[in-house]
Symmetry: C2
Subunit: 327 residues, 2 copies
């Protein structure tokens, strides 16, 4: 543990009580000037720390940055986020970073977190709006022993975990839109981008990237998504701790991953269906090379959408852009 | 074009004729000392160049290294090997390098070539024996507009291209072993490792890695493969130009890729079947989590193996390790 992190723990143990610089210096066997330098760094990281010539230091407010030590504190997982957290103030895309770490051998559970993405990505090369400090932009590396054609299950699993964490922390009406979006009142609050590196019959790694709009105010949405996107703040009107939501997501994700591995996909799929409400609906689905319209009969055990077209044809669809039709 | 490369072309144009240092210096507007320095570099790259105080320089023999300019010279393709060739005297694995270039945006047709791989890989994390200068170790980046479940076709396509190039240059009896090995007299002469980076319904890139044992003498094979591997040299007793074989492979691969893109997979599959001779054979196939035994009914239009087991069950298999049974 770094000296800076030790110092932070002493301040946190103080819980709203002034801690003298002399006490801190003695506890950590460093000079009072060194204490001051660490305080300055912590302030740069977003911690609100008061100082007084007489009384010393007082931690008023923790940083809202998604710092490694803040994520770890009280994180109730065994593997996810416990095997290395790579934190970026700014990066191109957390999925890009995670893929690079994975290709260099980073283990399952390795996490990438960024305050801002300059080239945040959604499915099919689309952008994901990723303004600094307003969302959770995170990617996790998995190395599941499943065949490549089972990979769609992981996207559904992640959308359940995102939905569960939002449900646990808000009273909002969360629904899942097949295959990879999480909605509140029909507007997108989170998206998932799963990328896979594979041989024919063997997965090397999977990167699950998640973007959640947390504190984004309506006015900051770019025009092209202002009618379709939302954030926790927009829906509740309240500020919201990103860090707690991130921890909740990691905990739910690990739980569902464990269920998937030990009991199979059925329990995950069952929960997914209860959150999705797509079955029985009339939709059109934009595939890469064609559009299909019809009624959703089911989402099958592998996570494929089963669509009955108007001419009675049954299609089994791995992924696409769904529009609900009002019929 | 570099000065060194221009100089090499002048020497090659000489075709066994002495070229004076003064002529070379004048042609390229450099000093005679500079000419001498380039000659020294070319020698280090494996070119056999004689020099004489009176007569100048004579190119006795081209380099046997798989240098970029040697690959390009006379390469009859439009894209493959024309969009950047990354040459390594030694690297961990050409597939690793290619994946990295691809993730940074390298275009279709980008080639990675190495004289030696320190961690050459086969399927399922196996090693590929890659001694310096004795084989072709190359990976190409493709960005096909096909869905991820069509990717197995690319492995079959590559194995046809390897087989064709060997057939065109030798009189050896080449066969293809499903899904990804090329054999001579039942021994492995080449292997293919296809790796894919994908979203659910969209391929980002495919890397096709090929290892071909060319000049490897029997005595240099490690014990674990001495009964199962072979090389062009072992089969013919003759030295063999790696560079010509590499060019032939690239040309065949581009031809078949073009056929695949414009006419579909059927013509490729037809050629594959004529080279494979697996249909009707009794085999056992080792999947990752189980072994299946039965008769091969077909390899279907997607490149999957159709196996009839003894109890009559039909299995459709994407990839596995095949053992031919003598039945």
């Amino acid at each position: 543990m770094s000296t800076k992190h030790q110092l932070l723990i002493h301040l946190k143990e103080g819980k709203g009580i002034w801690v003298s610089g002399e006490f801190l210096a003695r506890k950590m066997a460093i000079s009072r000037t060194a204490v001051w330098k660490h305080i300055r760094t912590l302030r740069e990281e977003g911690y609100v720390i008061e100082s007084s010539q007489k009384k010393g230091y007082l931690l008023r407010q923790s940083s809202d940055l998604l710092l490694e030590n803040e994520i770890r504190e009280g994180l109730n997982t065994s593997v996810f986020g416990k095997r290395g957290i790579h934190y970026f103030r700014q990066t191109d895309s957390t999925n890009n970073r995670a893929k690079l770490f994975a290709s260099e051998g980073a283990p399952e559970g390795t996490l990438v977190v960024a305050e801002e993405q300059t080239r945040g990505r959604g499915r099919r090369g689309r952008q994901w709006f990723s303004p600094p400090g307003e969302g959770i932009y995170t990617s996790i590396i998995l190395r599941p022993s499943i065949s490549p054609d089972e990979a769609p299950k992981l996207t559904l699993m992640a959308s359940v975990a995102v939905a569960e964490s939002l449900l646990a922390m808000t009273s909002l009406a969360i629904t899942i839109k097949w295959p990879n979006d999480v909605l509140i009142n029909g507007r997108k609050i989170a998206g998932i981008l799963t990328e896979i590196s594979t041989e024919m019959d063997r997965i090397d790694y999977v990167v699950i990237g998640v973007g959640i709009n947390v504190t984004t105010p309506r006015k900051s949405l770019p025009p092209d998504i202002e009618d379709t996107a939302t954030s926790v703040f927009m829906e509740t009107g309240n500020p919201f701790p990103r860090i707690a939501l991130l921890r909740a997501y990691l905990e739910w994700l690990e739980s569902y991953y464990e269920i998937f591995r030990t009991k199979g996909f059925e329990p995950v799929m069952k929960r997914w269906k209860s959150l999705a409400g797509i079955i029985g609906r009339h939709i059109s689905v934009d595939l890469i090379d064609r559009v299909r319209t019809g009624e959703v009969l089911d989402v099958d055990k592998d996570g494929f959408l089963i669509l009955r077209e108007q001419d009675g044809t049954i299609e089994r669809i791995i992924s696409g852009d769904v529009t609900l039709l009002h019929k």
